[in-house]
Subunit: 342 residues, 4 copies
């Protein structure tokens, strides 16, 4: 008889979630004979009546590798310590996990989900293996997460599209992308999409410097510019505020300038994951099964220097990866003519 394991997705969706689930099913169920149960909409599925928990088999995973979203659903409101009605329902979660005979859970999620994983282990004894997910790529525990490259491709493709229309109309177009605390998506896409300006939370920006760049381009016969702005460079609770702030600063500082804003929003999360993310997500899924098989509960799958490893979830929580304003990537951006505003 194989193990009985549960699996869930917490937090926002990211391209590659299905690839993780598929890898766990293919390896855990297909080769090791696990009985794998998927919790729908994170802990909501376990806590609802009737429970929304379903058995995952190779059949459940047909054709999902290339699909965005997640077949299990996810939610940003799945914290059992502070459930929808304000109650701490963690004890109930633990009881239901045990009633189902689940040896432990594979929890795919970001920093918030990993805190829950740590606290569930500490307070209820539920055993968890974590898989890191953050489209912003800002988890310090791993060099990279799946979904990030798909978001960069989406943003870079948007810059390609905006480039032709900015050039045709002599406009400044400001593209706001994801990145609440870290500017990875903006910075990667700025370089790969050939932006002229890039504003990220890690580098305080001055309107003068941004405007100077736009004016300089105008003098060189390039009366248009593309600016990419991480949402976290503005007020992160208001999507669009960072882009708007930059747009208004340029509009005010460059007379006669025609500035437009595009907010990429949810387009970055959806769609089929790029090959890079499908591979990384599959490696994470296989790595999570390995951790379970090795009894390394309480660990998180991570990529370090190209290798898949396990790190303690407790150590991984609240350690963020930010763009180094003095690092090679920022310097590369500057050397190819991108103005960061600071």
């Amino acid at each position: 008889m194989g193990r009985k394991i549960g699996i869930l997705c917490g937090g926002g969706d990211a391209p590659g979630l299905n690839a993780v689930i598929r890898a766990v099913v293919k390896f855990g169920v297909g080769r090791l004979g696990w009985e794998l149960w998927g919790l729908e909409d994170s802990f909501d599925g376990l806590l609802s009546e009737p429970q929304r928990v379903r058995r995952l088999t190779p059949l459940s995973c047909r054709g999902i590798l290339q699909q965005g979203g997640t077949i299990l659903g996810t939610t940003n409101r799945g914290d059992p310590f502070h459930s929808r009605d304000g109650q701490d329902r963690s004890a109930e979660v633990a009881r239901r996990v045990r009633d189902r005979g689940l040896e432990g859970l594979i929890m795919i999620g970001g920093d918030g989900t990993m805190r829950i994983a740590r606290d569930l282990a500490d307070r209820t004894g539920i055993r968890v293996v974590g898989v890191p997910k953050t489209i912003d790529n800002d988890l310090g525990a791993t060099d990279l997460t799946f979904g990030f490259q798909s978001a960069v491709d989406c943003a870079s493709d948007a810059l390609d599209r905006l480039h032709s229309t900015a050039e045709a109309h002599d406009r400044v177009i400001v593209l706001e992308v994801m990145g609440r605390d870290a500017g990875w998506i903006a910075l990667h896409a700025a370089i790969s999409g050939g932006a002229d300006l890039c504003v990220i939370p890690e580098v305080p920006w001055s309107a003068e410097r941004l405007c100077a760049k736009v004016k300089e381009r105008g003098k060189l016969g390039r009366p248009f510019s593309l600016a990419i702005v991480a949402e976290g460079a503005g007020d992160p609770t208001h999507p669009g505020s960072a882009g708007r702030a930059v747009a208004e600063a340029i509009q005010a500082g460059v007379p006669g300038c025609d500035v437009r804003i595009t907010v990429l929003g949810h387009l970055q999360r959806g769609g089929s994951p790029v090959a890079f993310d499908r591979l990384l997500a599959t490696r994470f899924g296989v790595g999570a099964v390995d951790l379970v098989e090795a009894g390394r509960w309480g660990e998180l799958v991570a990529l370090h220097n190209g290798r898949i490893e396990g790190v303690p979830i407790a150590e991984a929580v609240a350690v963020y990866r930010k763009v180094d304003p003095e690092g090679e990537l920022v310097r590369t951006a500057r050397m190819v003519g991108i103005e960061l505003g600071g």
Copy 2:
């Protein structure tokens, strides 16, 4: 000695403009020996000092078939009857056209550009052949224009992306697309992208009907919906207002609903044209050369029942194609379960 002809793009950019220019160059210059002059940024290039007008040769067109935007630039402010300083500079345009020895102009543009073409002919005697361009596909003179299908593909692809994130998070996502007076892009994309709701200017919408659809889906176990909204269904002078109006109506009418908005904006105009538009644009370019060669000045290239024809510009102006609320396409949308709100 070949003819001397000018060419320009007026109004907003659209995927396929370069394909028109390329076809005119390949046919007119390459086969017929024309001397072809491109006016940069529409009449602005002709009126500026020094003039920004350049000779177009097959070399100018290398690699542009797949590029968005336009190598000639364009502008929404190129009306010589009401130029930037408020003056009527049409006489100057005419003089400069004659000074350059241009027999006539090929003007690529939408309704506004065609009015200018008509008035230039009437008042100054400049000879014009028109090529219709409207990404909204709302020109009555032609069954189809280039750029439209690229915009539909972009919007349909956005729906594909949003679908997975709407489903993962049980959200209603409202996508606002172009379509100032006509809902063609929204309607085509709604059907091809599998939207649940579609709001267009031609069909007055009621909040009740939209909300009823969202609720009905929730009862069927589909607690998420995708709505696509033409910008013209709201206040067309404020991009985003149509989407916002629909989003607020749903938010107000469906308790507990999590509604998000995405405005596709300039992404629809940019990027490489899809094959369909490249072909249509090439046919239009060849057709424009044919009209010039036949001396059919004052005519516009048009597609009628699959054939390229010429129609008088004067007759074509201000005749719009709108979605027929009782037509086959709207009925198709309804029959596959799309709620139009009215």
Copy 3:
């Protein structure tokens, strides 16, 4: 009680089959209350033991609009008059259709499938409504079929890719695409992808003319060329033979030339349908339901001058649409510098 109807796909797959099925389900089942049965792998599903026939509901169609292939499967060997064992099993087909209480069948397929539909009606009395499917776009009964535009996009995109490598290496690259009897895909893609040579079954080609074009380009400083070749321009029973014949002719006729071949093959059939095909397929599906509801058995859905109509299947069989060597499209190709070899 609603009608009981069967549905199947015959012949090769094409992007958009799922969109047809989905539209029939959404309209027929969702709005009209039909009981709809899908025959798997065409008549094979009906003739196998146990039968592979499954009920189709809105649930069966979730997420399939954007998927290539067909959820019903298909086969080129599903002719009940000449089944796999050589027997005429049409009577058995008819009996099983009746035993299941099916009022009639919606058959999606090409010319071969429509012959079967006609013969089944004539000889067994089974009632059929047809939906035309031919990726080659060579059915005379309809102006257009779904799947074609997706194949053109795939071929045009391949030309874009090959262009950069041909140019970088001064090569002639020959791309063989589908088109057994008609060169529609090759011709459309040649124009939209900017090919230099285009070989189609309708225009006999001479090696001299093809080589002359390659040499002429070399003299103009363009020592590379892209040729697109319809498979039917060679020996259609050997995929790759047309491309090979053209490649060998150029290699022999242009000394020092470096010629390479790429056969696009099945890549053209797969993948997500483009928006254009999803819309057309949806319209066909709705149209098929309309024909059934109107009792117009024996008819085929068709597109004529932009309108969906029904035409008798018997009249539609064996009427092909070929490229007119003197028509506007061939002339357009020539005018933009594409050599057709004849």
Copy 4:
């Protein structure tokens, strides 16, 4: 006065070459004031009469970031030690480099180009900085090269397309991809594209094992399979031979099986580079300028554990990266059910 430097591309083209050139221009010319000369078609441009060598400025690089191919051209036959006429023309190359006052060359290329770089330095004293380029990702000197990820995406996308047609028709489809000595593309794409079989040069394959997998899938109700095969798993001098060998083995070993082959060929090299490659190529370009500025002639830019570094060209030559048959990636493939045949 700035430095005078030359730049060239050797060997086959790869997506990202233009991004390297652009970065060298933006940084070297734009910020450091270099005079940069591009050799067209590698050393051929320098050796031809008149020389085809052109000055590169920011203007030369407009819009090339997203273009495949290379604006400089490239050639597989550019070895000055064994030029087209069999002569050693390295002395002439050196003389012409000196006549032009070039301080040194930036050579972008693969193993062959790096040998030439080493020998030029050794025998003629020409100073060279290298940028590694191999779409197969098989250079031991660097963890990754640009172009590889674009090729993987292309192959993975092809698997997505072939999946639907294989499934619809119950076929085995064999996709041959690049990889002369190493199976990186095949292995990455197999995992990200969900192949069932993957044949690479590093793992000797047995027909029995491949056929057993196909049969096993048939028994599980999956009567179709996708196989991806690196060209180097067959006779590398005959493109298509590896795919054909695998296809014939399966055809022979699985009775009743319908096997088809698709050779991806040059499609993998062309097209716009994915964002990942554009970024890596830009980092390489900036790194090459840094090496020149630091006077570190004789070194190659390389990526090691996420950092850009310089390594001696002489040490880098003929050190290959192959897939480790016992490594994590191969194991990952096996754990998600991919049969490698050995």
